[in-house]
């Protein structure tokens, strides 16, 4: 029931200038290929939403396509800083980047509220921290039974969520397994959902630990083998830790980053 599309078609149809876009995947199953297609198509003025911006958003931010970032932890996992993110925040290069900053617990609950059709979620969080000073999507509510004051976070409802999964069938039912993170919530919270998959199969064989998203809850599926690289897809690939480490020197320098982008993403015929 989801449309089966090529990646360029799906990105062109689902993601537009100015959209709020969530590309999720907690280290695992990060939809890098879709982000690279966004760069190739030059879709810009995006509000990027992601718990861990990771290298995928470092690239989009460095490419100048983001005007705002909604996030909770912006580092290169196990390596260090996200230099394009820092350069945008600290120096406004290549453009200023507005931030909406939460904790992981807050972001996870914001997606869950969005997936639930609720305007907000309640959690026991943020107390005593300076985080409330930096976001207007955080408030408090009082428990009507106990009088306790709790944190309230505004729902996230992206215009479009992009995730990567291992498999889809021909009706667009999607199966992902391993660390499945917040992808179900992110996909269900969005107005449109695009899933890139390692392969399209005739029949999904149920897997331990898998979650299945029915095709009717998804807008489009695109087959993109290796579409999570340098992240990984359990059962198909392993995390390219070398790339994450190599990203540090590439991204430290504006010129080197720009050259990398041209050589690897935007140059005619490139497909990373």
């Amino acid at each position: 029931m989801a449309d089966i599309r090529t990646l360029p078609e799906a990105v062109a149809e689902l993601i537009h200038d100015g959209d709020a876009v969530a590309m999720e995947g907690f280290t695992h199953l990060i939809p890098f290929a879709a982000a690279h297609e966004v760069i190739r198509q030059g879709i810009t003025d995006l509000t990027l939403i992601r718990m861990t911006p990771d290298v995928i958003y470092d690239q989009l931010i460095g490419a100048g396509l983001a005007r705002k970032l909604v996030f909770s932890w912006g580092g290169n996992p196990g390596v260090g800083s996200l230099h394009r993110f820092r350069d945008a925040v600290e120096n406004g290069w290549p453009r200023p980047l507005e931030l909406d900053e939460h904790s992981h617990a807050g972001m996870a609950n914001r997606y869950a509220a969005g997936a639930s059709g609720l305007p907000f979620a309640v959690l026991r969080g943020y107390r005593g921290t300076d985080i409330p000073r930096r976001t207007d999507t955080l408030a408090t509510v009082t428990c009507p039974f106990t009088g306790e004051e709790l944190a309230a976070v505004a729902a996230l409802n992206p215009d479009v969520t992009v995730i990567h999964a291992q498999q889809a069938d021909r009706e667009g039912n999607v199966q992902l397994w391993g660390l499945t993170g917040v992808q179900k919530e992110a996909a269900l919270a969005a107005r449109r959902a695009l899933v890139t998959v390692e392969e399209i199969v005739d029949e999904l064989r149920p897997r331990p630990g898998a979650i299945v998203l029915p095709g009717w809850a998804i807008t489009a599926v695109a087959e993109v083998p290796g579409g999570a690289h340098p992240s990984y897809a359990a059962g198909y690939s392993v995390r390219d830790n070398d790339f994450y480490q190599a990203w540090d020197p590439i991204s430290r320098d504006r010129e080197r980053f720009t050259a990398w982008l041209r050589e690897n993403i935007t140059r005619e015929g490139t497909q990373v």
Partner: protein, 287 residues
């Protein structure tokens, strides 16, 4: 992932950019430049990590940040606490990795876990509900009440704020775990008189603040560094130097601390890493 040090005032990365100090600014270099006296057989980072692992001897379950906390927790499983349940915010309950994960979402965490849950479930049902004994955190800046900053640093007038990675799971880990352990390298850059930003609450402005804020766990019970161990004063909750690693002096620790550090009535010396502990740690890092 909370150990990620990020940039500091001078624009250099704080501590080591690579994991556990194996990067360009790693332990060997720092050991040399600081001239710290440690047993020739092991580095200050090894002493710190071994002591961090020992701090888990009484824990059943540990919510593990990547980097130093993860190394220490995995070492504990190989030494003092074989049954320790490792919980990673990526969704792995009871992960038993054979190698140190580079990221919090490495595939082996899921493959070896007793159960894998979604990230919202992890934070709501497992962390927030107070089900985890120990939260193990790193920090970019720490103050005398073990409050943590991992968000931004002030780089002085006319310069933009230095950007750190942000909160991640830390605020709620610090709030909800039964108790909190913190591991980080000791320097005046990290141990500051006043945080530029409070990302995660340790003991707030002192004893009683956690209760006032409604934070359920006991908060930080130890800060383990490459120089020694600090623990909150039972009365004031201000961190006191309670333990020195062998060969380290109180003066060295004070010089590396950005506030006038108080010491406990009796300052102990930690037992040096045993050959078994060191062998386990090195095997873990080599795997």
């Amino acid at each position: 992932m909370r150990e990620e040090p990020g940039p500091v005032a001078d624009g250099r990365d704080l501590g080591a950019p690579g994991r556990d100090g194996r990067g360009p600014a790693g332990e060997r270099e720092r050991s040399g430049e600081d001239g710290r006296g440690v047993p020739a057989a092991c580095t200050p980072d090894e002493v710190m990590t071994v002591n961090a692992a020992r701090a888990l001897a009484g824990a059943r379950t540990c919510f593990v940040g990547i980097g130093l906390p993860s190394t220490a927790a995995n070492l504990a499983r190989r030494t003092c606490r074989p049954d320790l349940v490792l919980i990673y915010e990526s969704g792995a309950l009871g992960a038993k990795p054979t190698r140190l994960p580079l990221s919090i979402g490495d595939g082996e965490l899921a493959e070896t876990a007793d159960a894998v849950v979604s990230v919202p479930e992890m934070f709501n049902y497992w962390l927030q509900a107070g089900r985890i004994d120990v939260g193990f955190l790193g920090a970019a800046q720490l103050d005398r009440f073990a409050n943590i900053n991992t968000t931004v640093v002030n780089r002085g007038p006319d310069r933009p704020e230095g950007r750190l990675p942000g909160a991640g799971g830390a605020p709620e880990i610090a709030a909800s775990c039964g108790e909190v352990l913190i591991v980080l390298r000791h320097s005046t850059r990290n141990f500051v008189d006043r945080l530029d930003f409070v990302t995660s609450v340790g003991h707030g402005a002192g004893r009683g603040d956690r209760e006032r804020l409604g934070l359920r766990g006991r908060g930080p019970v130890a800060v383990i560094t490459d120089l020694g161990i600090l623990r909150p004063d039972p009365e004031s909750a201000e961190l006191l130097l309670t333990d020195l690693h062998a060969g380290v002096t109180v003066e060295q620790v004070r010089a590396a601390t950005g506030w006038p550090l108080k010491t406990a009535d009796q300052v102990s010396v930690t037992a040096p890493p045993t050959p078994a502990e060191l062998a386990a740690l090195r095997a873990l890092r080599a795997a």
